[in-house]
């Protein structure tokens, strides 16, 4: 049995490092985009439209991953796209987490009318199709980075609130909470010292998951042309364009798709990996 656990542990280590490696790479690309990108991501050259990547015959030297229909460099756009993706992931992920986990913790531990009100809001929110809701919000607020972040927080806080509420409720029934009360600890203090550490691993997993989801939502909004004004480089915008010209220039779709896929996967694995490695109960 301990042997099987060792196997899982090794796997956990591997996935932690692999996902951290990829996310580190994306972060570096985002930070140093102007230094790394071989071209201006917005520069068009209609004579260089739909050039294939370097290993395909007919490629244009210097455009490693080819160009799109307007002759913009795919690699450069990919690198600049990482900036928006990461900003959205970090800011929207963190904000959603604080709001959702906070409300969930309160509802689950305090119960009573606090729980009733928060749960009712969760119910209402759960009756909205999230993608449609986010599109609607962007249409209302107008495109832009801030709008995207706000929209993500508004639609996704329930993801945290639901799970954390259930967990906090379970932890609240444990005797160590009773024991803190016998010791004379107040309700808020008990919530922070006894409940929070025990739901923290779940929060971490949800947070990294949410970061991946935020990246996807941004991509979806770009895909339906609602995210960032016009032709700024975003992965979703590139995918949207690639979907149209999929039969003529597959590379316009494939590279941002791979980047998106790996990033989302890496975020979700990062959370699980962190939990396996740092949770004292599992260690």
């Amino acid at each position: 049995m301990a042997d099987a656990r060792m196997m899982v542990r090794r796997q956990a280590g591997a996935r932690l490092w692999l996902s951290a490696f990829w996310l580190g790479l994306v972060a570096l690309a985002a930070l140093f985009a102007p230094l790394i990108a071989p071209h201006d991501p917005l520069a068009q050259d209609l004579f260089l439209g739909r050039m294939p990547p370097f290993w395909v015959a007919g490629a244009e030297p210097g455009y490693w991953l080819g160009t799109d229909s307007l002759g913009r460099d795919v690699l450069s756009r990919l690198i600049y796209g990482a900036r928006i993706a990461l900003t959205v992931a970090l800011v929207a992920g963190a904000a959603t987490c604080v709001l959702g986990a906070g409300l969930g913790l309160m509802a689950g531990y305090m119960r009573g009318w606090v729980d009733t009100v928060i749960s009712r809001f969760i119910d209402i929110w759960m009756a909205f199709p999230p993608v449609l809701f986010s599109i609607l919000l962007i249409a209302v607020m107008g495109p832009g980075l801030i709008s995207i972040i706000i929209a993500i927080v508004i639609i996704d806080w329930t993801r945290f609130a639901r799970v954390i509420r259930a967990e906090a409720m379970g932890q609240g029934a444990m005797d160590y909470v009773a024991s803190a009360r016998v010791a004379g600890r107040g309700r808020i203090s008990t919530m922070l010292t006894e409940i929070l550490p025990n739901v923290l691993p779940t929060i971490v997993v949800l947070l990294t998951l949410e970061m991946g989801i935020a990246v996807i939502i941004e991509a979806i909004l770009s895909f339906v042309n609602l995210s960032i004004p016009t032709d700024d480089a975003t992965w979703g915008g590139m995918i949207s364009e690639g979907r149209v010209s999929i039969h003529q220039a597959w590379w316009v779709l494939v590279f941002p798709l791979i980047a998106l896929f790996l990033t989302v996967l890496a975020f979700s694995q990062l959370g699980e990996g962190l939990k396996d490695r740092y949770d004292p109960v599992l260690r």
Binding site: M1, A2, D3, A4
Partner: protein
Amino acid sequence: MNYLELKGLSARIMRQNHPLLRSVSLALAPGEVRGLVGESGAGKSMIGKAVLGILPKAVELTGGEIWLDGQDLQRLSARDRRHRIGQSCALIPQDPLTALNPSRRIAPQITDRLVDILGWERARAVTRAEELLHEVRIEDPARVMRAYPHELSGGMRQRILIASAFAAEPKLIVADEPTTALDVTVQKQILKLIKDMQARHGTAILFVTHDLGVVSKVCNRLSVLYGGMVVEDNDIDSFFAGPRHPYSRALLAATPKYTDPGASLTPVPDSVIAGVRGEIEAFDQRQAHV
């Protein structure tokens, strides 16, 4: 002629060198009730599970033989062994609340085996099940047969499990801490019921328990276990008159008795623990050299 015989049975956690059973040998004559006693982790439950072929997946047998009614179970194919056990053995489990399938009615849970494994006709199996429910003093067997488990009390469910264990007239029953989850007053009724049924049907029982008090009420013989090793194999009267092994003696001394309040409780002394650990080490070294 013994009905069940274990010869040098050893088991360990898979791919690990941590033994759970260390060359356990014991015998059970037809109609005999043997207690398996020890503290948690002593391996007493493992023995019962090994006999019934329900060891956890992570546990493997590393040596020894299990003879049931003159037949070495290890030599049978997995399927034949299963059927052999299904025909002649039964289990009374610990927790009556989880031992009945909550989504099935009582009747099929008793008659399944009679029909599927023993090949009875369903009507005969149902009649038999009702007889047995009557025998364990359940008032309205026909109604109980139609009920779902959650409609019945804990004591009632334990009676049903006992009836179900005796249904196929097994030669051997493994009772795995069957009263640990119950109140003392209910425990007394259930223990008496088991003893009663055992006497009437002449069944041999392996009675797994941590409670020496319970052993003294239902068993003819007992084996005391520590670290997966049998440290004492004795009959009941001479055991309670004076255990032979120091560990058994310490265990008996640590068991509270309301009849003599003056005697202070003595935890099992460290020297005794060191003693049995030494025996185990010596045993492991002998094994390593073989």
